[in-house]
Symmetry: C3
């Protein structure tokens, strides 16, 4: 009997438990309604206890027992934690930090992605694992390694990585003169005579931003290449879809890595206060691939490594479990099923305790599994409706702002979430969060705030065409201010915006230590934030104008047409209210109609061959409101609603049009 | 003429001063009433200026001059500061920090306790020193080294220590399989194939808690072994009692080291605000040995290394000097007699300044010495009366919580002092603070809060028998939750408590970010703190019950009988008031009768062949109250008191029954 | 046509720009009124792209173009940033930090000042540069290197520096016994047997203050020697005055380095809130040499490295540009002319943007340049009038207090600025800030607070004679408490003060955690701060007396005559009001008459062959007041003033007596 989505599952570490406990586990899994578990993640030393000596019997036993219980398996490659015999024989496989120290056994994510020996041993264990489970009917997918990102800011700084970085630069620039010219190394006598001279940009030195950006990009590519090695083996030997579990951090280019994967996997541990941030990330990973994503990790009731922290109130487990389903995923897995009895991370919340006792959220888990079952057919035969709205979000931008925040205290991801995404979300203008490389064709309105370079993946040309063909593009502040190499343009503060947006930027001023007043077309005034471009209009229409300081009289926000579309330039970041007002107007013009609901309600319309409906969640643990245009039935409870309805705290509903 | 206790003294560094200043010093010491000084502490380079060239003449001169003035000497071994010729010839004697750097000459506590060469040179200098002063009538005791603890968190990480650690593990576990099984190394592929592979757990890596705990225990044992080497020499060549000055920090197992020593020595530098913490430590060191302890260091009027800080108000010097005497010690020594004129620590408070001028507390020192003299006979012939109450306090627990605090912000020693000891003390329920290895037979009531493992020193068996024989044991929260190897039990959240305490722990919840309400038997409600165990009673009586959240209806505090005794389990840490109320009831039942006094008064009853009485101190610099059951005389002033009496700020009295 | 001061200029980096941009720059410079630019600072790799291959043609082109535009040049030696070929061939030229890591290419200030190879290459490039531009009529001065100071606290810790330090100590002390005796190394067995054993005092070890001070002094001397090498070449080959741009930090002995230089150059980046601190530094650098100083760097409108921060309100650029002129300088240069397009420091405020657009302060720059022109003749033919008041300020004291702050939170430079200089300045008692080595003859009143040693540069003898000849000396607190070797005096708390000041210091108490009350002669009371000396008077007159605590009845401030002069000892630091009252009285007695103005007005009288007048600035962006004794004309506006006049926010005037 094939297990069908939606999947409700958990991470499972049978390598650390005797068989009788495993039987106890599986009985409780069935009771909870769990239908998938993730295994093998760090179990290399159980799979290959000595070099070349393999043992998968224990794992087959577990997988078979699970199969008998109707529980599917996501199999993980264990490459995140090389066994002691490997690091002892080849210490060079260990990451070298940028202070010159070598990582130690006993940790995880401590092997160099570029090390040839490490890669060979990874290939061997992954090949073996794929041979063992690549055709196992109960295995429904693969997870490669775990939570990959360059460790400690600069990633691996070993000689292998250094050499490979220099080779990468050699390939990218051809000649060192070209690199010097492109990066502008004449200042501070930074000019290189050969690629051999390029240093690893250590964090204790204030380095050239072009070098830093190139290094981080190289680190990202190294992990993607490392992943690709495993993907190729699995594609050759296994029939199941392959992914790697990504995290809400900046480390890898997730767009690029998703190109080589079959399914997007994602881990998050958001708190009650910032559950909406998980929504941001799911709105980001959903567009990465056509197939529904898998939420591979989330907490049940609290986080914990050395401390148990962040107890979640009643109902959180419910709504947090539904969140990925609402936003286009088809799996939610908890970390972890049974708490560890030894080692690190002893204090983490789980479904059952290390002594096998259900935690207080056990009934919520059961409730969720029942809901998944009831809504399964509708969910599996519909997809979230595209809103036509998108926001650009770029890991490359994140690096640029990390090395050069432009304004004191500016943190790219925070601002994208708090000042851009959350106001949209609360206004029910739910966007796709897209990488600059993503196709633009599904969208009527695109926002590109804080996007320092338009040169990523040829975006400048694509966005220009998209606007010409009718798109509404809201861009800035701090967008189009850098080349792809982290340098400035020298003929204007922007690469393209003045020309396209029909403005001339007369003055620029940072929003530190204070903010300036702007007056909007309806004459109300408010303060901008973060950054201030003051524009003379050269064909554009001023939408908001500065009324004080050196910028007085200059435009802060402008609009102009380009082809069939229009460009709205934000010279400063407006208040939340002004931003929402602007966006609601633009969306309305573009025919984008938000759901009518209070700001704490996440309501995601779906449609497909199973009809139309919407998944509705309350995500702030307070009463919410929703207005239905037509009568709908909650297929979990069977209740029927119409018109204005109450959305109770932390509730989850699957409303279907009758 | 033999100098008798109580000793009032000071640290003295004659190695840094010419003879005429020493004569000046001794004259002022006599004026102050000082009767003991501590010398030699760091003076290795004066004793052995070149390898094998010894010079003790200057020290004999000083000791003899002191003897003539009736001032006894505590002689210190100078091993804390090896001379330059030693570290230059054998750089390997220097500590290696866990970042790989080697300590530098010019510091102190910077030599490896396990280094064979260092130990040999220590043996030589200690032997010589013992030969010189082991039979000196004016030397009344020995201090080994100074303030020993593993430096910088992880202690010495040199190759010698690494090898010895691996040997220690080899001896402890026999086979590596046993270690793997015991520690549970299967997670994260941490499994070892041989003891040779065990790493030093560097602080920059998130290491396995079992490894960390074993490493710190090994460090502690190394210093104890290092101490033992010196003790053996001194026991062979010297007739005086031997100790080493310990500090109110976690580093060595003080119970274990005290077994090899003759007298407990202790240094503290508490502020006006936390003088009661010094009482905690003295209540801890008093039970370590039968003989009275020596308070070897405390400040006179302010602390100071590079800054003079923490000026103490009038009277503090008095009460701080009396504190060790009140709590069972027989010596109080200031650090330091005369302020340094060069080197580090120039700014520290002292008795006289570096230019030989008495500080403003000089008259208080005189007053204390007169009081000591007047009360001497009574004090020397009585001992503090045991209250029958004890609290477990464990350095091992301290490590476990350091590597795994369980709840955000939980600091073991702080909680033991603030949430456990201070409420008891303020209720005049003055306990012995005892190591888990200590004998239980003197006690009627024992508290074991935050004691993660009962496996230390066979405590589980001993405490069980003790309860069966009539003891009242108050245990938890966060007690009995780990094996001695820092792993969890797998059949229940506790090792023993459910069985003994007749409860079943249904749910556990961390007290982060909020606390839960409990209702007590008298129906009043309050909030718990830190941690929440929710119990079903299986024969126990619920004393307090949760009234909200997932724990609603479960017991928070339970009581049950076991043999002739009883067990009270705290599932959460009550408020101060609830905790005091509970303890006062339990104490009353056990026949423990507290002194009647205000919370700022420390009143320690004494008895012995010199009769009965009590030492009374006010330790918070505000007026206090004490109620006497019968008439008593203050043998310092001759004043007679009865019934309710005022205790003036920072006063010290020795009340004796007439 | 020779360019005359006052100079208004900017840092310029033509090495990073093509010729057409340079033409654009020069046109805008002319428009702005810029008459000097600073070039070459970091351009070694453009000047010597390969070893021994020189290219100055591009620089001649720039200098000549500037000359044609009437813009003079300050030529910088580029030694701060060695080219990659040098560090690649000789990695040993790179600084070694005190953690053992070697600095990396890509930074600046990362070469060892003592490295022989580095010095040779510096000599070669400086020689070449001097040959090229030493007789260029358009070059008006030289700047050596850039912002020199020992990096990262301890400076360069390479083997070369270590050896040289040991040699320096060998030369200074002759025998190791002398060093041991002088430093007092007997404590902690720190005694050395040979100079070879002296360690580098790493910051991770708590080192002997005498060693630390000697090390920092050695570092300072190393940079001065390094500078001297370049000065000698330039003096031989170039006809223009030579300086090096200094910073408001403690690193080099600025008095000593100024002895080998021709002109003092200074960089500052003060905020709106602490612009007066720039005045402190200018009052410090003005007395260093007879010739007017050059303010070589200051921001135009905001600072910026990776963030643009600290936007300055309208008028700040004006008043900040006038500040050095007012205080005796003859040049103000902005950092920078045109913002960088690549590399580090992209976000810094400038005169024109990287895309060649004037910033919003462009008109203020023009206004300043016009003002400079109008006032030039008067300014060039007058000098600020000496007030007769001086305050000692010592980099050596700064080190002593850094290694030993004496009291918690005491920061020497902060206190000198906030508690000493600012109160004086606000009372219009504008002092020279002088090094202990400076001549005393120009002064009637000298303050020496927080000057731990009087042994610097023979100050004790010179100040004694100066008092005898009629000077009024206000000294303390925390003065005369250390020898030049950072040790204490052993016969009294002071070296000289008790004898000279006719007092006996009975008690000393730190001002932590609280302050004590003093009563002044007029019976008003207030609290002291920082430190408390309690004096018995032995011929001195008590001016303020303690009325509480152990110091009660002792004098806090005393006065006594010595020869024709007097000594006022501050035993504690009075309140701002008491300090001002005391100083105004003393100044009045000494015939020092302050300008009558509000505290926010900086009014600096000038006189010379062009007559008398004053430069008046408002430095706090709020209205101010000034009272003129006689009618004066503002030669910038032509306005005439008399009696009470308003000083508008951020205004600058040059008032001249008619």
């Amino acid at each position: 009997m094939k297990v069908l989505p939606p999947y409700l599952g958990a991470a499972y570490y049978p390598e650390d438990w005797p068989l009788d406990k495993i039987d106890e586990d599986i009985a409780l899994m069935k009771e909870a309604g769990i239908n998938v578990v993730r295994v093998g993640e760090f179990a290399w030393s159980r799979m290959e206890p000595e070099e070349g000596v393999y043992d998968f019997q224990w794992l087959h036993t577990v997988v078979n027992k699970l199969a008998e219980a109707g529980i599917a398996v996501i199999m993980c490659t264990p490459t995140c934690t090389p066994p002691i015999w490997l690091v002892e024989k080849y210490p060079e496989v260990l990451v070298v930090h940028d202070d010159g120290t070598r990582a130690q056994h006993g940790a995880r994510r401590h092997a160099c992605p570029n090390n040839r020996v490490y890669r060979q041993y990874c290939e061997k264990i992954v090949t073996k694992l794929a041979e063992e489970f690549g055709n196992d009917e109960n295995v429904i997918g693969w997870q490669i390694d775990n939570e990959m990102y360059p460790p400690r800011g600069r990633g691996c700084c070993c000689p292998t990585c250094h050499e490979k970085f220099k080779d990468t630069m050699r390939q990218q620039f051809g000649t060192i003169e070209n690199l010097n010219r492109t990066w502008g190394t004449d200042l501070w006598s930074q000019t290189y005579q050969s690629f051999e001279q390029l240093p690893i940009p250590r964090s204790d030195t204030w380095h050239h931003p072009s070098l830093l950006t190139a290094w981080m990009n190289f680190q990202s590519d190294s992990y993607i290449e490392f992943t690709k090695v495993q993907v190729d083996i699995l594609h050759r030997l296994a029939k199941q879809p392959v992914g790697t579990d990504m995290m809400p951090v900046n480390g890898l280019n997730y767009y690029k890595i998703s190109q080589v994967l079959d399914v997007v996997q994602f881990n998050h541990y958001n708190s009650m206060e910032n559950l909406w941030q998980a929504a941001f990330w799911m709105d980001f990973i959903r567009p990465l691939k056509q197939v529904p994503f898998w939420n591979t990790e989330t907490q049940t009731c609290w986080n914990g490594s050395t401390t148990a922290n962040g107890y979640k109130e009643k109902g959180f487990c419910r709504v947090n479990s539904w969140l990925p389903i609402a936003l286009g995923g088809e799996a939610n897995l908890y970390w972890l099923w049974r708490a560890h009895w030894s080692g690190q991370e002893l204090m983490h919340g789980s479904v059952i305790s290390s002594s096998g006792r259900p935690l207080h959220i056990f009934d919520e888990v059961k409730e969720v599994s029942e809901g998944f079952r009831k809504a399964g057919e509708f969910l599996n035969n519909t997809r979230p409706v595209k809103s036509g709205l998108a926001v650009h979000f770029s890991g490359y931008a994140w690096w640029l702002f990390e090395f050069q925040p432009m304004v004191n205290g500016f943190r790219y991801a925070d601002k994208m979430m708090n000042a851009v995404y959350r106001p949209l979300m609360e206004a029910q203008l739910r966007p796709d969060i897209i990488d600059p490389a993503a196709s633009l064709e599904d969208y009527k309105v695109i926002l590109s705030p804080f996007l320092p370079t338009l040169e990523e993946s040829g975006l400048s040309e694509r966005i220009k065409n998209w606007v010409y063909n009718g798109g509404t593009w809201i861009v800035g502040p701090l967008s189009d201010i850098r080349t792809i190499h982290a340098t400035k343009y020298v003929d204007a503060p922007f690469g393209y915006l003045e020309d396209w947006g029909k403005v001339y930027c007369k003055y620029q001023i940072p929003g530190d230590p204070r903010d300036f007043i702007v007056q909007w077309k309806d004459d109300h005034t408010s303060r901008g934030s973060i950054w201030y471009d003051g524009f003379e209009t050269r064909g554009a229409e001023p939408i908001a104008v500065y009324t004080e300081g050196p910028l007085s009289g200059l435009a802060a926000v402008t609009r102009c047409e380009m082809g069939k579309g229009q460009i709205i330039i934000l010279g400063t970041m407006p208040t939340k209210e002004d931003f929402q007002r602007l966006l609601l107007n633009v969306a309305k013009e573009a025919g984008i109609l938000p759901v009518v609901a209070s700001s704490n309600v996440l309501a995601v319309p779906r449609s497909g061959k199973a009809g139309s409906g919407m998944v509705v969640l309350e995500i702030e643990n307070r009463p919410g409101k929703l207005t239905l245009e037509r009568e709908m039935i909650d297929i979990i409870t069977g209740n029927v609603y119409k018109g204005d309805m109450d959305i109770p705290p932390y509730s989850a509903m699957v409303l279907v049009e009758k």
